[in-house]
Each structure stands twice: as structure tokens, then as C-alpha cells.
Amino acid sequence: MFSDNKGPWGSPPGSGGGDPPSGDEPAGPWGETPKRRNRPDPVSSLDEFLQRSRGRFGGGGSGGGLGFGGGPSGSLIFWAVVAVASLWLLVTVFHRIAPEERGVVTRFGRYSHTLSPGVGLTLPAPIDRVQKLNVEEIRNIDIGSAAEETLMLTGDQNIIDIAYQVRWLIRDPEQFLYELAEPEETIRQVAESSMRQIVAQVTLQDAMGVKRGDIESRVQEEMQQTLDGYQSGIAIQGVAIKQADPPAAVNDAFKEVNAAQQKAQSYINNANAYALQLRQKAQGDATAFDKVYEQYKLAPGVTKRRMYYETMERILQNVDKTIVETPGVTTYLPLSEIRRSTPRTGGQ
């Protein structure tokens, strides 16, 4: 039991006040320093101090400390102790609180007040203690990652592999320190359960696509509500879904859908190209016909003959021609003979 209570009192060296019987060391030099400047006689001031301190500690200090002041070594020890004590006071009385920090002050364990940024004054260490907390820093908790699968059931009983990040900060330093046993672990658990709850209300398609933002804000809201229920003093700044994919086991099937979409699109593109071509061709043909027809109408007989002869010219000048007088010969003409003659004419 003794060691339980000793902690905050006995640990700091020269922490003042409580060491009257420790022989020739001066008892409790703190509080003495200013007096020494006023009065030249160190011994009388020390006596006075000892008397006061004896009263303060209920006569607990049974004397001692009078051996001091004799030799030069004694005075050296005295000054050393004074220096350590002043340093101690300096460190434990003045607290520099950075702009992003708050200092939570406890007096003998009980919460006293919270220091705002700037320099804060408190009683020295064993009495007042200051715990500095950064209330501006946004902390991250990552749940799930690309490396491992975090599977979750969606509302349509499909499975999604999801990874997300929760950003939070300390809103209320006192509550944060005193209300939750394990704040970080709590946030993690609440995040997991909130995400599961919200994802179970949407479909897989929604979770993977359009409703991501919606899910994020709903999870944030749910988390905040739950954590407020614990009076945790934590503010959830945001939830970001980093990844929402189908599980690896069915990923190929999802890729097939993508491929099918591409394929379908290419079918349609091809058909569109064909349609465009066909329309242009039809219009071109029709326009050409119209133009010729206009000419034809002006002089039908002549135009028709002209067209006939021109066409025949073009055709017949490029092909082998055989003119046969009697129709009967045609039947005896061996086709193979004609064929054989063809390359010769072609070669010449």
C-alpha cells in the first residue's frame, strides 16, 4: 500500500518539503530562495523556515539541518539544492502550451482546469500535473488494405472487399482523457461496426460506385453519434473509402461484365459506321442518277445511245473479243483453247 501512494510524492529528487530528517541537508529549500535575497543572515532565516515547516508538517520533522552553514562544502550543497529546486519549479510551474495544444491540469489527481495556448501557470509538480494534448492534429485510422481482403456483406447479400480510413481529432481533451479506457481501439471498433451497418443497407453496385460518398457521410454520422453516446470527446472529421471492389474470387466475372460492355459498344460502333456508309452511298447514287436523268430528259434517244456506246467502248477495249459469223460454230469452240490463248495475249 505504501508504494502505491509514494509514486507522485517521493520520485522527484529534491522535490521539496517532505525531507526534514535527512540529516545535514537543508530541509525544503523551496520557498526559501526569495527570502535569502532580503535578509543577509542565512541561519536565522533558515531557523524561521524550519519552525514554519515543522508547523506545516505537524511536527513531523524532528530537527536536523542545523549542521549546515558551517564549512564551504555545506554551502555548496545548499546552493546546488537551491539550483535544482528552482529549476524544478521553473519546469513544473510554467507550461508552454503550443497553439494546437491544450493542457489538462489535475490537482492531486482531480481535474482542475484546462490550459489554453500560451504560457500557463500551475502549482509545482507533485500537486498539479499537466497533460498536453494536441487537439488540432487529425489522426488517421486505416481499416483494411489493398494487401488483405476485408470482406463485408452488402444489402443484396453480395460480398464487397472494402478498405477505408477514418480521420478524427480530440474535441474535448478532458472527456478524451477520462471517459474512455481505450480511445483508439474504441474508434476502430465503432468504425468497423458503423461501416458494416451502413454497407448492409446498400447494394453492391451502389457501394462500388455512385453511393460511395453517401456511405462515407452516413458512416461518419453514425460514428459520431455512437462516440457521443460514450461522451468520448472525439470528433470524426471524415471517413474515406479507399477501395470498394468485388472480392478476388469473383473479380474475373466482374471483368467479364466490363469486357461485355466494351464488346457491345463495339458492335454498335460497327453498325453505326455501316449505316453511315450506306446512307452516304445511297445519297451519292441517287444524286448521280438524278444528274444523269436531267440530261437524259433533254434528249432521251441520243443520250441513251451515247451512253450505250461509251460503255461498250470502255468494256470491249479491255477484253479479248472473238467475233463469230455463224452461230453454229460457237458450240464447237473449245473453251479450254480460248483460255490457253488468254495468257499469251495478256503477256504480249
Binding site: P21, Y111, A264, A286, I323
Partner: protein, 284 residues
């Protein structure tokens, strides 16, 4: 003074003893703990007990006194703590399995009872974890699988919390919240069949997308064909006879000369002098 100087060792010893007395009669009570003071094992009072709605720093914590060597202090956490449960398999009314992982948050509101019944919060948590599991199984087992996915909707979690709270009250604790952290299909067949279902659903979707694409393409082609036919008919319909001639000329050219540099197969033409083309040739 003189006595102290004459017997330095003895005075040192006495001083040390006194100091120890002082220290052991004072307890520093932090905000995060509640203390039970027992005198020879008999609880006499509670320090820094949790009060609902009390402001931090108003009461309780700080310095507490006790009689040294006679009274002792045992500490119980004042903060919100959690009970974690092992994974539980839940069987729904439609015989589907779900693996559920949940946690509960509680706070000790009656430290004395907690001290008497469970000694410590750790002990209490160990006791309550299986009870949480069975509460969960009981409540969720009454429902079909579909509603297990979002049990928050039907107040199931509230029921579980109340059930657990009744037990926890006996230990002087209050259950603040019960939440399901994970609800997964168990590994093996249930998970695999879910994957299979997802896979086949996707494949079905892929087929249907492809078929729809084909259908659309076909319609586009047909429409274009119809439109072209319409254009042709409008133009050529003006004089079908001339069209016949005009088109025949084009056709001969294509057939015998080829289009766009496509050479047609070698052609031999056998003409009769009676032919229309050679009519003038014979000089008749």
C-alpha cells in the same frame, strides 16, 4: 532538537516511519478510477463513485484519506470499457449461417458490487463475454437471414443490450451499447456458394449486355438499309425504264472492268455480228 542530534539513527528511523504513515494515509484518486475502501476486508466507503451527468472535476477525485494499515483501497475503472466477444456462429430461421463478431461498452456504476461479485473488471469481462455471445445467438436466431444483415433496423441491438444489461446490473455495471462489428459468411461452403452466385450473376449480366449490344447493332443496320432503300426508290422511281438502262451500264462496267482497281477475272467475249453493238459494223 538535542535529542535528535544525539541519536541520529533513531530519529532518522522515526522520521521515516512517520513519513510512511503520512503517505499511506493519503491516496491520490485520479479521475479515471473509483476506489473501494475496506477495513479489514469490510467495505466502508467508496471514493470518486461514478455519477451520471456529473461534470468532470466537480466531485470525487483528488486526495482521499484513510487509516494506515487498517484500511485498504481497491481500484475499479471509472471509464467506459469494452467487452469483446469471440466470433459466434448464428443460425437464422431459414437455416443460413452467419459469423458474428460483436462488442459491448459498459461502465461500472456500482463499484462495490463489482468488487464483491467479480473483484475486478477483467474478471467481469470474462464472465460477461459468453453471456453476450448467447444473447446475440438467441436474438439473431429468431430472424431470417436477410434481416440479420442489418439488425439495427428492427431494434434487435436494443433487445440484446437490455438483456445483457440485466445481467451486468448484478455486477454493478451498466451496458451502454452493444454493436455488431462483423457479420460474415462462414468460410467454406456458405462463402463459396455466395461467390458462385455472384459470379453467375455477373456472367448473366455480361451475356445480356453483349446480346443487347448485338440487338442494337442489328437495328441500326436495318434502319440504315431501309433508309437507303427509300432514298433509292425516291430517285429511281422517276423513270424505271431509264433506271434499268442506266443501272445495266453501270453493272456491265463493274462486271467487266472492275471497280476501284479490282481486276475482274479474265473475260473473253464472243460477239455475233448480229449483236446490237456490231449492227453498224456489218454495214447493213
Amino acid at each position: 532538537m538535542d535529542a535528535a542530534r544525539r541519536h541520529p539513527v533513531a530519529s532518522l528511523l522515526i522520521g521515516f516511519l512517520l513519513l510512511m504513515m503520512i503517505f499511506s494515509s493519503i491516496s491520490i484518486v485520479p479521475e479515471t478510477r473509483q476506489g473501494i475502501i475496506t477495513r479489514f476486508g469490510k467495505p466502508v466507503r467508496i471514493i470518486n463513485r461514478y455519477k451520471d451527468g456529473a461534470e468532470i472535476g466537480q466531485v470525487g477525485a483528488g486526495i482521499a484519506f484513510r487509516i494506515p494499515f487498517v484500511e485498504r483501497v481497491d481500484w475499479i475503472d471509472k471509464r467506459v470499457r469494452d467487452i469483446e466477444m469471440d466470433k459466434q456462429q448464428v443460425l437464422s430461421t431459414d437455416q443460413l449461417r452467419l459469423e458474428v463478431d460483436a462488442f459491448a461498452r459498459y461502465r461500472v456504476v456500482d463499484p462495490l458490487r463489482m468488487y464483491i461479485r467479480a473483484r475486478s473488471t477483467d474478471q467481469f469481462e470474462q464472465t460477461l463475454a459468453p453471456i453476450l455471445g448467447s444473447q446475440l445467438r438467441n436474438e439473431l436466431g429468431k430472424r431470417p437471414f436477410a434481416s440479420l444483415l442489418s439488425p439495427e433496423r428492427e431494434g434487435v441491438m436494443g433487445n440484446i443490450r437490455q438483456g445483457l444489461d440485466r445481467v451486468a446490473r448484478q455486477y454493478g455495471a451498466e451496458i451502454i451499447d452493444v454493436r455488431i462489428k462483423k457479420a460474415d459468411l462462414p468460410d467454406g461452403t456458405p462463402l463459396q456458394s455466395a461467390f458462385d452466385r455472384m459470379r453467375t450473376a455477373r456472367q448473366q449480366e455480361a451475356r445480356s449486355i453483349e446480346a443487347t449490344g448485338l440487338k442494337k447493332a442489328q437495328i441500326i443496320r436495318a434502319e440504315a438499309d431501309a433508309e437507303a432503300a427509300n432514298t433509292y426508290a425516291a430517285a429511281f422511281g422517276k423513270d424505271p425504264e431509264f433506271y434499268n438502262f442506266y443501272r445495266a451500264m453501270q453493272s456491265y462496267e463493274t462486271t467487266f472492268l472492275g471497280v476501284n482497281g479490282n481486276k475482274p477475272a479474265q473475260t473473253n467475249i464472243i460477239l455475233s455480228p448480229n449483236d446490237e453493238y456490231l449492227k453498224e459494223f456489218t454495214g447493213r
